[in-house]
């Protein structure tokens, strides 16, 4: 079974990804398929009782998930290359603009040295690139104790820190 870092822990993943045999717990499909299922034009590939998740590709517009933000439990953002940067925006928008509270997972060519910034964009789960050490990846989430930007979950706005204390 696939191992991922989720909520700072290494754990087994119960979901199936696009192209894999449907898992009992939950099935992730492409954005097009997800929207088609919601529109009633495609039968859900998820077995009865299983949840349906969605995987975004870099060019996908996450705004299309707005109507489903409350019911979705898993959004996977795919990074086909480690230099791919659009997923950082997709993640932030899902969290900050569309109020998505379920699992937000970065998948694909995700490297150790990227999880800290991804987490700052709202990602709370990481399906790492082959060969990456998951324990080290989880530890990377504590790489920095401070940051300059106000993003989802920031307590004191760093650019206003002169006004605090």
């Amino acid at each position: 079974m696939r191992q991922i870092v989720k909520h700072r822990q290494c754990q087994a993943d119960a979901w199936s990804m696009p192209g894999e045999a449907a898992a009992a717990a939950g099935v992730v499909v492409s954005l097009a398929d997800y929207l088609a299922v919601q529109a009633g034009t495609l039968a859900s590939p998820a077995p009865a009782g299983a949840a349906l998740g969605v995987q975004l590709e870099p060019a996908d517009d996450e705004a299309q998930l707005l109507p489903f933000a409350a019911q979705l439990q898993l959004v996977v953002v795919n990074f086909p290359k480690s230099a791919e940067g659009r997923g950082y925006t997709q993640g932030r928008m899902l969290r900050e603009r569309y109020g998505y509270c379920g699992e937000l997972r970065a998948a694909g060519a995700v490297l150790l040295d990227q999880v800290f910034l991804l987490a700052r964009c709202g990602f709370d789960a990481f399906d790492m690139a082959p060969g990456e050490n998951l324990t080290l990846a989880a530890a990377e989430l504590d790489r920095f104790s401070v940051a300059y930007q106000t993003v989802v979950g920031t307590v004191v706005q760093p650019h206003r820190r002169g006004q605090v204390g």
């Binding site: 932030r92 603009r97 910034l117 300059y148 993003v151 650019h159 006004q163």
Partner: protein, 548 residues
């Protein structure tokens, strides 16, 4: 100047630890070359012809003397005794050892410096007018805004994997001394309809293979919206910029492809959603930043005639290497890093230490770097100018050639750069040797020569009054010449005069161009003005005349 607080110190220290860890993983074989590359690049480390090259950030070109002494220390301890100031106000070291770079960064952190985002596809060091805070024509000091941008852009979680590098320049004066029109974003401080301060915003300028002058996408942005507007531009670019071809990945290509109007509309639409969020800057925060850049407690001094009875060498230096200051009794002093025979921008550790001592004695304890690879002492009392000149002369930093042909911009070229077609530095030497008569240079007046060793345009050749570009023809070095470029308030791109010339012909070609200029100029016309008046043709005809 800005001083780090606990947050800044912590962040830089943690970044050093992160880079040390990344370097160790690479040296231990846990990271491949390909995996390590984007990591080291994000920290200013290139692997070049001879060795790694480390680019250290000098935010908006401002250095304390303590920092200058640290730069000297790095040059001595980890390099070969010198450093190289770049066209983006930064400093590069050409000979460090990879395994020592984390120690260099740790040393830099002790003086509030770093190399974060000095290369890689992220937001680079924000540059500014080197006369910020002292220029008489300034609307407002750009540096507080630059520092706000520096902090916002440093390890920005969303914008660290952009399609391509991203450069921002800010200027507070109509006379653009920061080449802001050839930056991805150029910000010009302006007064709005009710006298409030804000910015004119240009987007999509840049040099490289496709040189383009930035387009104004907003006439006036109230300053409190600075960060939200930048974030909107960056978000549109991060989503829509091309990632399939690095030569088409800069924001200038996106603006061209979408069209200015559509691009502006996309930015405004995004901005409307975020303008009143936490990104809004309030007056308290802006004032907190402005306090760091407060004007000195200037003495009340009259302007004096410092040249009366002085030797010609001093008078020439005064005329060419000092500039007007907004406060009477003071001058800004240009420190020339264009000594004939030495690569433009190079400075030895001894010169750095000597300059730091001088800046402490007679100036504000600060030194500025310029985008044309010189330095500035911003606050010198006119009565101290003679002593300043003597001391700079002793340091080899008083060549009276600022603004002349000899004040060339030049990239490292074949001597250090693996992408080069041309040995820019030896061409610079060829030119300074040929034009060694300083009185002739003074007679030619303001003349900017800019030279790049390849299309990447690190030497800004497109915006040189005379631009020189190294090209490869069947394995030989050839040089393409452009004239009429400018990076000032009235920016323009130079026009190619004709087929490229052989290496040994570069200085001769320049001589022909200058002959034409001298023969047809009217009164005080500069070279650039003549090119704009008569066009390229008379110059082309002379250079390619069969009997020349």
């Amino acid at each position: 100047m800005y001083r780090y607080d606990t947050l800044d110190h912590t962040l830089v220290a943690e970044r050093v630890a992160q880079f040390r860890d990344q370097t160790q993983r690479f040296l231990a074989g846990q990271l491949s070359e390909d995996e390590f590359k984007p990591l080291r690049l994000r920290n200013g480390l290139y692997i070049q012809t001879h060795a790694p090259m480390l680019r250290v950030a000098v935010p908006y070109g401002l250095l304390s003397t303590r920092q200058v002494r640290m730069l000297a220390h790095l040059a001595r301890k980890y390099d070969r005794g010198y450093g190289h100031f770049t066209t983006r106000q930064n400093i590069q070291y050409n000979w460090p050892k990879l395994e020592e770079v984390p120690d260099m960064l740790a040393d830099l952190a002790t003086v509030e410096m770093h190399a974060i985002q000095t290369s890689g596809n992220c937001i680079r060091n924000t540059t500014a007018d080197h006369f910020a805070g002292i220029a008489p024509d300034e609307i407002d000091d750009p540096r507080p805004y630059c520092e706000i941008i520096r902090q916002w852009s440093t390890l920005h979680p969303e914008f660290n994997y952009l399609p391509r590098k991203f450069k921002i320049a800010v200027t507070g004066s109509p006379a653009d001394r920061a080449a802001s029109q050839v930056h991805d974003i150029g910000l010009h401080l302006r007064r709005g309809p009710d006298g409030q301060i804000g910015f004119e915003v240009l987007v999509g300028g840049g040099l490289g293979r496709t040189p383009i002058i930035g387009k104004v996408i907003r006439d006036f942005l109230p300053r409190e919206h600075l960060l939200s507007y930048l974030e909107a531009v960056l978000r549109v670019y991060n989503r829509a910029g091309r990632r399939d071809n690095i030569y088409k990945a800069r924001i200038k290509i996106l603006v061209k492809a979408m069209g200015e109007e559509a691009f502006r509309a996309a930015v405004e639409q995004e901005w409307a959603l975020i303008r009143d969020t936490a990104l809004l800057l309030d007056v308290v925060e802006i004032d907190r930043m402005r306090k760091y850049f407060r004007p000195l407690p200037y003495e009340k001094l009259p302007d004096i005639d410092v040249t009366a009875g002085r030797e010609a060498a001093f008078v020439a230096w005064y005329r060419h290497n000092t500039r007007v200051h907004k406060v009477s009794g003071y001058r800004a002093v240009m420190v020339s890093l264009k000594t004939p025979g030495i690569a433009p921008g190079d400075m030895t550790a001894e010169q750095m230490d000597g300059l730091a001592d001088l800046a402490d004695r007679i100036s504000s304890g600060e030194v500025r770097s310029t985008h044309d690879q010189n330095l500035v002492l911003g606050e010198v009392r006119q009565q101290d100018l003679y002593e300043t000149w003597q001391r700079l002369t002793a340091l080899g930093l008083a060549t009276a050639n600022i603004g002349t042909l000899a004040d060339m911009i030049c990239c490292p070229g074949l001597d250090f750069c693996s992408l080069a077609n041309a040995s820019s530095i030896s061409i610079a030497h060829q030119i300074t040797e040929r034009f060694s008569d300083i009185d002739y240079l003074y007679d030619l007046g303001p003349l900017e020569i800019k030279m790049s060793g390849c299309m990447n345009a690190c030497g800004h050749h497109h915006v040189g009054h005379i631009g020189i570009l190294g090209v490869d023809k069947h394995g030989e070095e050839w040089y393409q010449i452009t004239i009429g470029g400018s990076a000032s308030g009235d920016s323009s791109l130079g026009e190619v005069i004709g087929p490229s010339v052989a290496k040994l012909e570069v200085a001769n070609t320049l001589a022909a161009l200058l002959d034409v200029y001298v023969s047809i100029r009217e009164e005080d016309e500069t070279f650039l003005q003549v090119v704009r008046r008569v066009g390229v043709t008379p110059f082309r005809e002379r250079v390619y005349a069969p009997n020349r």
